[in-house]
Amino acid sequence: MLHDVTCVSLEALVGEVAKIKVHGYRFVTLTGVERDADTFDIFYHFDKNLTLKHFKLSVSKGVSVPSITPVYFAAFLVENEIQDLFGIIFDGLVVDYERTLYLEPETKVTPFCRCTVIRTPGVEPTPDAAAASEDN
C-alpha cells in the first residue's frame, strides 16, 4: 500500500520539492494517473535511505503545472514523457521537447487518455483536433 502520501496544491508544489531537496531526498520519478474525466493525479516520488515519500497533486485538465526541473534537473525526461502521453503542459521546463519525445508531429490525440487533445506549448488546439478526439 502507499504510505507517506502528502497532497500538495499547485502553488505550493515547487516550494515543497525544494524543501525536500534540502533534507537530502533523491528524486525517483513522476507518475501520471487519470482519475476521472476531469482530473489528473500526478504523483512525485522521492527516496532517502531506502524509504519512499510521495507527493500527490490533483490537477484539472487544461491547467498547466509548474515544472520541478529548476530544482531537480533529472525530472526533465519524465515531465516531457507525461506531456506526450497525457497532454499536461509543464511551465518552465528546462529542456522542452514540445511533445516530440515519443510521438510524431502528426499525432493529434494523446495515447493515454483519448479525451485529451494534444496541446503544444504556446499553441491553442484547433477545432478539427477537438472533433477528431471526440470521434476516437
Binding site: T31, E34, L50, F73, A74, F112
Partner: protein, 358 residues
C-alpha cells in the same frame, strides 16, 4: 574554433539499442549533448488496460530482453502485496536464484560489449563464451534461454531438483574460475586502463543529485542497492553491495565485475538455505488498491506503480526503469570529453533503451 554537430546513433556498433545523441563538438571536444528517444516506444503501459492482470506477467517480461525475469518478479511482488498473498518460502528462494543468474548473464553481456567498444574483440568473445554456460543453465531449468517466464502470481512455475541444483553450482564454479582467469586482462591491462581510467568522471554529489542508480551510482561511492530492502528472501541471506569511489568508467566496470562474483556467492547461499515445500499457491479474486514495488535490476533500481480497482484489468501500470534515471547523469558527464571517448562512456552506464521507452 568551429562548431560541428555530429549525430551519435541511433545505429552505432557499440549500442545494443537505439539511442540518438546530438553532439556539438568544437575541435574534438564535446560542448553540448542533446538526447532523442522514441525509437522503440511500444506503448506497453497502455496494454496494461487491455490485458488482465495475470496475462500482464508475460507482457511485462518483454519490456526488456536482458533482465526480463526481474521485471516479472517486481510486478508479481506488487500484485501479491495488493492481494495479500503470502508466497511460499521455497518459491522466494527460487526467484532469487533465477534473478541472480539473470544478473550474472547481464553483467557478462555488458563486460563483453565494453571490451568490444574499445576494440578488444577477443576478450569480448571469451566473455560471451562464459555467458553461454549461464544461458544453458537457464534453458535446462526453465525452458528458455533469455525470457524465462517462470514467475506467476503466487509463486513460480518450475521447481529445481537436488540434482539440478548440484549441476547449477558446478557450472557456476566453472564460470567463477574462468572469469578469474580473465580478471587480470580485464582490470589490469595497460590498454584497458588507458581507455577507461579518468574518463567520464561522475562525482558523488552529482550522482546523488541527478538521481543515478545502480552500478552508475555505486561506482561513484553512493552505496545504494535495493537488495538491502530485504524483498523476497534477501533478508535471510548475507549481502553487501559492491562500491567503488573513483566515479570513472574503470570504477563502474570494476563494480560490475565484482558483482558477478557476489551474485555467484548469493546463489550458493540460496542453494544451501533453500527450504522444502510447495512452489506456488492458488490465487483467487482480483487485486484492488494501489501500491508500488522496487527491485534491484542489473542496471539499477526498478520502480513499479500499480493501480487496480477490483476489475480484471489494471487501471494504471507505471514502470520506471534504471536507464531512465541514468540518462541525465550521462548528459552531465559527456561535455568536456574527447569525441573518441564517447562510445566507451555511453556504454559505461549500461544503456537499455527498450526498458527506457517500454
Amino acid at each position: 574554433m568551429t562548431k560541428t554537430i555530429i549525430p551519435f546513433g541511433p545505429q552505432h556498433p557499440v549500442l545494443p539499442e537505439p539511442l540518438h545523441l546530438t553532439l556539438t563538438v568544437e575541435d574534438e571536444i564535446i560542448t553540448e549533448v542533446f538526447p532523442a528517444l522514441g525509437f522503440v516506444h511500444r506503448g506497453l503501459e497502455e496494454l496494461a488496460i487491455r490485458r488482465d492482470f495475470q496475462q500482464m506477467i508475460q507482457v511485462v517480461e518483454r519490456v526488456c530482453g536482458i533482465c526480463s525475469m526481474i521485471h516479472a518478479m517486481c510486478y508479481c511482488q506488487g500484485v501479491e502485496e495488493l492481494m495479500e498473498i503470502e508466497v511460499p518460502p521455497r518459491a522466494k528462494m527460487l526467484r532469487i536464484i533465477w534473478s541472480e543468474l539473470h544478473r550474472i548473464q547481464s553483467h557478462l553481456l555488458w563486460l563483453g560489449l565494453f571490451a568490444d567498444s574499445f576494440g578488444f574483440e577477443s576478450l569480448f568473445m571469451q566473455l560471451w563464451k562464459i555467458r553461454e554456460k549461464v544461458l544453458d543453465i537457464n534453458e535446462a531449468t526453465t525452458g528458455n534461454r533469455v525470457i524465462v517466464s517462470v514467475n506467476l502470481i503466487g509463486g513460480v512455475r518450475r521447481d529445481l531438483s537436488a540434482e539440478q541444483m548440484k549441476w547449477i553450482l558446478s557450472h557456476l564454479s566453472w564460470v567463477e574460475e574462468e572469469i578469474g582467469r580473465l580478471e587480470t586482462t580485464l582490470l589490469s591491462d595497460y590498454t584497458v586502463k588507458k581507455r577507461t581510467v579518468g574518463k567520464g568522471v561522475l562525482t558523488r554529489e552529482k550522482a546523488f543529485e541527478l538521481g543515478a542508480v545502480g552500478p552508475t551510482a555505486r561506482g561513484s561511492g553512493v552505496a545504494q542497492d535495493m537488495r538491502l530492502l530485504g524483498y523476497s528472501a534477501f533478508d535471510r541471506l548475507d549481502f553487501e553491495p559492491v562500491v567503488e569511489t573513483d566515479g570513472d568508467c574503470y570504477a563502474r566496470s570494476r563494480v560490475r565485475f565484482h558483482e558477478v562474483r557476489r551474485s555467484i556467492d548469493i546463489v550458493r547461499q540460496a542453494a544451501s538455505k533453500i527450504p522444502g515445500g510447495e512452489i506456488r499457491i492458488k490465487v483467487k479474486g482480483r487485486p484492488e488498491g494501489e501500491t508500488f514495488s522496487r527491485i534491484e535490476q542489473p542496471r539499477g533500481e526498478l520502480f513499479y506503480y500499480i493501480k487496480t480497482n477490483g476489475s480484471k484489468n489494471l487501471e494504471r501500470l507505471r514502470i520506471r526503469t534504471p536507464t531512465f534515471a541514468n540518462i541525465p547523469a550521462l548528459l552531465s558527464i559527456l561535455p568536456g570529453m574527447w569525441l573518441s571517448d564517447v562510445p566507451v562512456v555511453v556504454l559505461s552506464i549500461d544503456p537499455c533503451i527498450s526498458c527506457t521507452e517500454r
